[in-house]
Symmetry: C2
Subunit: 362 residues, 2 copies
């Protein structure tokens, strides 16, 4: 019940700390407002709407070619399948909390018969030693940057370089789960091409930091992309028309691709506020992207009413849910366009109030 | 070269015999014009936008439940997979020109390991005897109504009933590839529920007769649909937002679902015109839906310039392509909203002119 009240109070706020704003039909209508009705649909992967955007994204990522997919789930399973077929070895390695392992109903195993080797432990990112100490050969290593399920943590750029070098030596393909890769650039102080250059194939989401409606880009060399188009058809992803996703992705990519530095700075600022409250801490303590997880050392039943009350009183959304943890509870923050619209004094008052209320919990 | 001229001349016409009109961004903009920007997105298969439409379609088709898929390719592979798993037998039977056999890069085999038994021959529909004389047991028989690749032909309703009865006796599931099933109702003089009642699972396209942007409905019993949602996630089809397809499907379904009788009458009329020209015949001779194939007994090189010239002179689109056949060539016609907008005298003049030109070919 408490959780429903929390969601209800969150949905009634018109200002929120995280995100770009409501995921409603206005996202589509705004993107299409300036697009002429006479623009032709793409058709089964052909036509300038899809081909131009794929070219733009390939150039941006520094890869030979790119293909637009309806989802990252589809794009990544296919990338791994292609690398497995090339090596004739149906084994890949990734983090235990990879999207493929926990959010896809085992599609990789059920549809492709690919076995996963889990690297590192659930509470930390993959380091070089995790890769070099694998006991089995694999066709591909997948790195997720940032590692979303642990608050968006990152290995160092030197670690990425070392893993990339090692994989090339050992003829293991390296795939980037870069759903949120743009969000990592300000911390790494590297260009997108410098990051992508370390990987054989790259996936980028169109609706996370970019804030489009849905969709994903998969990029790599010409032969890889040609094969991925065949698998896209097999998966049922070669829709007659993907333009609702492509044209909105194009619009919001143009609008937000250069805002990641701001989101990152704001995430660090907001994390400081949370960490200033008794019984609240963020993971990572100092964010390295626009995202982090907020942990409370008290139960959801204790924390929910406080947050719901804060949201109601201040018309300022903090979260709509709390996830129960072994100790306490947590929720995720990804900074988008909304944070900067809130007057600073209001944020300050929120956290003063929240800090006081947390003090009262036993 | 000739083929490109044909396409170019077709694209420059502002009136066309077939279809609903250009597949351009206006299709989306028109559908969303009256939809409030505040309507919330669906989210990974949840939310009233997707749930209400699925309920509406389940009720319409007379099935317990329905799920919205991004594509029919995905929906049908999944339907067959579920029936195969239930019987623990990875064999299904369908027509040699089924979409699954010729347009999906063997997704059914490559992703699901399902073997296909081909029923009937390429030039005719599946009859009861084709099903009863199968030499192997199968988990599911798929019937495509109408059989698109042979001009949209149909078996009799009595044949459907007999196949359905036989399959139930033999514990073989019967799946309807009903991409264009609404288009069959006027000929059968049956309700959609009477047709769907013969099948265990039903697929309906959102962009063929209905003219939406993309998407498909899969319907069946509760347990079947629950399983299909798991497979939808595995395939990468459980997008965060499918509303661009759902809301447009909803709008065009409401607009066109009762026009299928008109399209059917108009198809019969238009086929008569084609059949009145020397060296031209339609398959079927008398259409049983809104569609048919137009065959010429001359080569594409001979026919293209005539059609291109007709299209240029009359600003009336006939076709943008010709498919080479063993003898002569062909193209497909599906009647939609456009045919009725052309003044009858103009159609008459077109075919008088076309008939005369065809006479001159050797």
């Amino acid at each position: 019940m408490r959780q429903n009240e929390l969601l209800k109070s969150y949905e009634q706020t018109t200002q929120q700390l995280a995100g770009h704003g409501p995921r409603n039909v206005a996202v589509l209508k705004n993107a299409f407002e300036s697009i002429d009705g006479k623009v032709n649909s793409d058709k089964y992967g052909q036509g300038s709407v899809i081909e131009d955007f794929q070219k733009q994204m390939a150039d941006f990522l520094g890869k030979e070619a790119a293909v637009f997919f309806p989802s990252g789930t589809m794009a990544q399973q296919i990338a791994l399948r292609i690398w497995c077929d090339e090596k004739d070895l149906k084994k890949v390695a990734y983090h235990p909390l990879s999207h493929l392992e926990i959010h896809e109903e085992d599609g990789l195993k059920e549809l492709h018969g690919i076995q996963s080797i889990l690297l590192a432990t659930e509470d930390r990112v993959i380091e070089l030693e995790d890769v070099t100490s694998m006991s089995e050969d694999v066709a591909c290593v997948l790195l997720e940057l940032p590692q979303r399920e642990i608050g968006g943590q990152l290995p160092s750029f030197e670690t990425l370089e070392a893993i990339s070098r090692y994989c090339r030596e050992k003829e293991i393909k390296l795939h980037l789960d870069g759903a949120r890769i743009l969000e990592c650039l300000p911390y790494y102080e590297k260009t997108i091409k410098e990051i992508c250059g370390l990987f054989d194939s790259v996936y980028l989401s169109m609706y996370k930091g970019i804030g489009g409606i849905a969709g994903a880009i998969l990029a790599g060399d010409q032969d890889f992309i040609a094969q991925s188009k065949i698998w896209k058809k097999r998966h049922g992803g070669d829709l007659i028309s993907l333009y609702p996703y492509i044209l909105s992705a194009d619009a919001y990519f143009a609008q937000r691709k250069n805002r990641m530095g701001d989101y990152y700075m704001q995430a660090k600022e907001l994390a400081l506020y949370f960490n200033s409250c008794k019984g609240i801490f963020t993971v990572p303590k100092v964010p390295v992207t626009n995202m982090f997880h907020v942990h409370f050392d008290k139960t959801p039943e204790q924390v929910s009413p406080i947050l719901a009350q804060a949201q109601e009183i201040m018309n300022l959304g903090v979260t709509g849910y709390l996830r129960k943890e072994k100790q306490g509870c947590s929720f995720e923050v990804s900074i988008g366009d909304q944070y900067n619209k809130i007057p600073q004094p209001k944020v300050k008052v929120l956290f003063e109030w929240l800090g006081e209320k947390m003090e009262t919990l036993k």
